[in-house]
């Protein structure tokens, strides 16, 4: 598998800046003085073992959790300083694809996609809404499921619909929480291709949380390795694993069955 080489990244423009952020749950210190930058147009993969705070990081960035200390800057706004209304407006620029897709199970696929659109773009006509929904669903290759309920879809289809629902608001930033978790290898490849397609077609900058190294290699322009609550290694995929660090090596060996 070739390492990714996407050209359309502006390394002079920081979209998300996590600066000296710490977060603990009771006595458990999850993130400790973490620093991270996401550049315009790039796919940044955050790797780490389960329970190391990867998902907490993207929840902090999207304002679902508040940091104990430090500053998070997203598109020039300081997330922890925003009031509810400002935070809601900022979130419209951030697409969040959840680990279990988080589709509204009482709604059809069409209603799931319409929900954010109808509530946030109130001036759209019914015809425009239908067109938007169909375009985005077509983009993820699942237009045929438009009238199905989430319970009728496979895991891979649910992931795709979840991504489509976030894309419908045309976000500048995408957050993918474990996009390939629980999927078979071929579906993982489909999802990884979709993440790259989204980057190219919608010009998004993305943070992808995973512990799947094949996914990291295929979609990541840079990879950040979260170890013991800190980003110890950040760089290209090949740079990250060019090490004898006993905390990193087994990770690679296991994933590529060396």
């Amino acid at each position: 598998m070739e390492e990714k080489n996407y050209k359309d990244i502006n390394y002079n423009e920081v979209i998300v800046h996590v600066n000296d952020v710490s977060k603990a749950f009771g006595d458990l210190k999850v993130l400790q003085n973490v620093d991270l930058k996401l550049f315009n147009g790039e796919n940044l993969v955050v790797l780490g073992r389960s329970g190391t705070g990867k998902s907490v990081l993207i929840k902090l960035i999207s304002g679902l959790l508040k940091p104990d200390s430090g500053v998070i800057n997203v598109l020039g706004e300081q997330v922890n300083q925003l009031n509810d209304k400002e935070l809601r407006e900022l979130r419209l620029k951030i697409g969040f694809s959840f680990q279990n897709s988080a589709l509204y199970d009482s709604m059809t696929v069409r209603e799931n996609l319409e929900f954010p659109l109808v509530r946030n773009k109130r001036n759209l006509t019914r015809a425009q809404i239908n067109q938007e929904v169909e375009d985005v669903l077509d983009g993820v290759g699942l237009l045929r499921t438009i009238n199905q309920m989430p319970s009728e879809l496979s895991g891979g289809q649910r992931k795709r619909i979840g991504i489509a629902r976030t894309l419908i608001l045309r976000p500048d930033i995408m957050m993918y929480d474990e996009p390939t978790a629980g999927l078979d290898p071929l579906t993982c490849l489909d999802i990884n291709s979709l993440i790259n397609e989204v980057q190219e077609r919608y010009k998004t900058s993305s943070i992808i949380i995973t512990h799947d190294l094949a996914c990291a290699k295929m979609v990541g322009d840079r990879v950040a390795m979260l170890l013991d609550g800190k980003f110890e290694r950040v760089g290209k995929f090949s740079e990250i694993f060019d090490t004898e660090d006993e905390r990193v090596k087994p990770f690679y060996d296991y994933n590529f069955i060396v």
Binding site: D84, R91, F96, Y104, R119
Partner: protein
């Protein structure tokens, strides 16, 4: 258990209780803040009124009818001893309007609506649907919580009037199974026995019960613990806590109304 450990455990329990009260207070204050601030979720409120109110009609109808019928049947022998069966319509109307209709409606709604809301919100919480709503620019508190509390507060009084009507119909059928009494005469006696303050008390009770059921079940659902066990616990707590508080409220309201005369 030594005394130091016992003291530590009691302190922790007391702290947990205080935190729960603080959380309840914050939830209540947020409800009052959100309920008056636009945008108003009219469509969702109407949908919830349909879910909570309209879909409860079959169960409420059966229960209300049985309560009226059985209550009349059981009251008859006592009145017969004094040759006072002609007082049955008055007795039924007072019992139903003053106590049975609001209480039966609230208990049925606690079971049906409370468990439904608790389980639904809790499973949305577990599957991150509430977070998904939040990140897609929707205020989940307003959309999910405020709409449901408004719907229960509005629909339980309507259901209560319906239960009163259907209970009185059950009572009438029970009477005519033994005696002869025209519908007009029955209705006249029913309305002669109740005063406007009884109607007011019924409305007051059912509004309080409706708000309680909505508030308690949304609270336990919204703050449920993660996992499938959390869903079961939330559904169960919604019913148990709603019923418990409804009974406490009934006791307080009866005392207050007695004091007011």
């Amino acid at each position: 258990m030594n005394s130091a450990k016992y003291k530590y455990l009691m302190t922790r329990k007391f702290e947990t209780l205080l935190l729960e009260f603080a959380n309840l207070h914050r939830f209540l204050m947020r409800f009052f803040r959100e309920v008056v601030s636009p945008p108003f979720e009219i469509k969702e409120i109407i949908r919830q009124c349909y879910e909570i109110g309209w879909k409860s009609f079959p169960l409420i109808s059966l229960t209300g009818f049985i309560v009226g019928f059985v209550f009349t049947k059981q009251s008859r022998p006592s009145l017969e001893e004094f040759g006072a069966t002609s007082w049955l319509p008055a007795l039924i109307s007072i019992a139903i309007v003053r106590a049975l209709a609001p209480l039966v409606t609230a208990l049925i709604a606690s079971g049906k609506v409370g468990s439904q809301i608790g389980a639904e919100l809790s499973s949305m919480n577990v599957t991150e649907q509430i977070d998904a709503m939040e990140v897609s620019g929707t205020n989940p508190f307003k959309y999910l919580i405020v709409s449901r509390i408004i719907a229960t507060t509005f629909m339980i009084p309507i259901l209560c009037f319906y239960v009163a009507g259907i209970g009185l119909a059950g009572g009438y059928l029970s009477i005519i199974s033994k005696d002869q009494l025209s519908v007009l005469s029955y209705i006249t006696q029913v309305f002669e026995a109740i005063a406007p303050k009884d109607i007011f008390a019924m409305v007051f009770r059912s509004v309080a019960f409706g708000f309680t059921i909505g508030f308690v079940s949304t609270y336990v659902g919204y703050y449920s613990s993660k996992g499938t066990e959390g869903v079961g616990k939330a559904a169960n707590s919604a019913v148990v806590a709603s019923m418990f508080i409804v009974f406490i409220e009934e006791l307080l309201i009866v005392q207050i109304l007695a004091l007011l005369g």
